[in-house]
Symmetry: C2
Subunit: 243 residues, 2 copies
């Protein structure tokens, strides 16, 4: 959005959450946030096509052809990220749009936010769904102390070692351990936990959060051993371990 402030004034970098998936009604994005999106004509996104689909869902936005889309992903070189701040220096507001959930959280973008601070550009994080946070709330595990570790290693042996290290940390401290997996490895990780973790370690899977088939299973490993493995193959899931 073009600012009416004096030409020396800088724009605001809004950190804009996305939904965690399509639902019959908007259950996760405050109307206030939608109204900010509707006014932005500089959008920093991971993928223009999916960003455009989000804008369609939001509705009443500035038309795509009038929006300056800037591409930010893991491969974007640092000097290009730095140039994304140019419109903000010129007084325009910009949005860093997440593909799903909250930008920066288990997602790219922190480099851009860091540069914005270094350039004295105002950063405004907006409220939306975070699967990590919702999973922690819904797990019944300690929310006073927790750690998020991102993805486990791909190598099978290293993955199992990482898992057992997290279990040990969960058992030796009050800190809840949170991690993710590539969705096609969900079943494998559940089997690993059932096979290798101790009976009284607590294990939670939080799947498709905020979607119609959301489900949170939170039980000691002993219970998991008795039940059947839940059908979470390829479904976005957060995993949590606790003592």
């Amino acid at each position: 959005m073009k600012n009416n402030r004096s030409s020396s004034a800088r724009g605001t970098l809004y950190l804009v959450p996305n939904t965690l998936g399509k639902t019959p009604e908007n259950n996760t994005i405050p109307e206030y946030v939608l109204n900010i999106i509707r006014r932005l004509d500089v959008l920093i996104v991971e993928n223009i096509q999916t960003a455009s689909r989000y804008l369609q869902w939001v509705g009443d936005t500035i038309p795509d052809y009038e929006i300056d889309f800037l591409l930010l992903n893991k491969k974007t070189p640092v000097h290009e990220i730095a140039s994304f701040l140019d419109p903000l220096k010129q007084g325009r507001d910009a949005g860093l749009l997440s593909e799903a959930g909250c930008p920066v959280i288990a997602d790219p973008g922190s480099e851009l936010v860091k540069m914005a601070h270094a350039q004295d550009i105002h950063v405004s994080p907006l409220v939306g769904p975070s699967s990590i946070l919702l999973a922690l709330m819904g797990s019944g595990f300690n929310g006073q102390e927790f750690a998020f570790h991102g993805y486990l290693p791909i190598d099978r042996n290293k993955r199992r070692q990482a898992l057992l290290k997290l279990e040990q940390k969960a058992r030796n401290s009050a800190q809840t351990q949170i991690f993710m997996e590539a969705p096609h490895r969900n079943d494998a990780i559940v089997k690993n936990i059932i096979a290798h973790c101790r009976d009284d370690t607590r294990f939670c899977t939080a799947t498709n959060l905020t979607l119609p088939d959301e489900r949170i299973i939170s039980q000691p490993v002993r219970h998991w051993k008795q039940g059947s493995i839940p059908a979470i193959h390829k479904e976005p899931t957060i995993f949590l371990l606790s003592s």
Copy 2:
């Protein structure tokens, strides 16, 4: 809310966020969440008076005198927490209402959620503001790996030791370190960090998030040493350290 399901059906335990403070307009709670609050007649709260004030702000809720308020705080005995699930077993939905931000996150409630899972009661975490998450987004620090530690120790020496341990962890790993302080100790902790942390450690204060005077300062300690200490005395602040 009374369910129309069969008498054997159980209610849902909704985990209901609160705002982080009063703002001219609702900028943090999705309308969907407000609509759920409006239908609940069992509310598990830390303080009835502040919960009642929140209901007034939400508007169109069931009148206070028709709501069953159940008190949950650090002192509530375990058997009493267990009894809070009785209405849910009878098919009524209930809300665990936070005093500020998201329930369970740096707040009581995890014991209740744990018991709900043990009793096969459906738990539904709802979207709202978390100062911890917003601070992490806004800091420009690593959001792929992070740990939240709650409050630092009160004892001055132990606090300093805990702080230096967090700095070391931030420097030796990619994990962003997040913590809080009793607001009247905010200035002291900032002074401690400036005095004791290394020049290139990155330090962020995120104050009054989502409120009109929200401010996020994120700079290497070297910059903090050159500037003046920000006025955050007694203002809700999240602290973050990063390499």
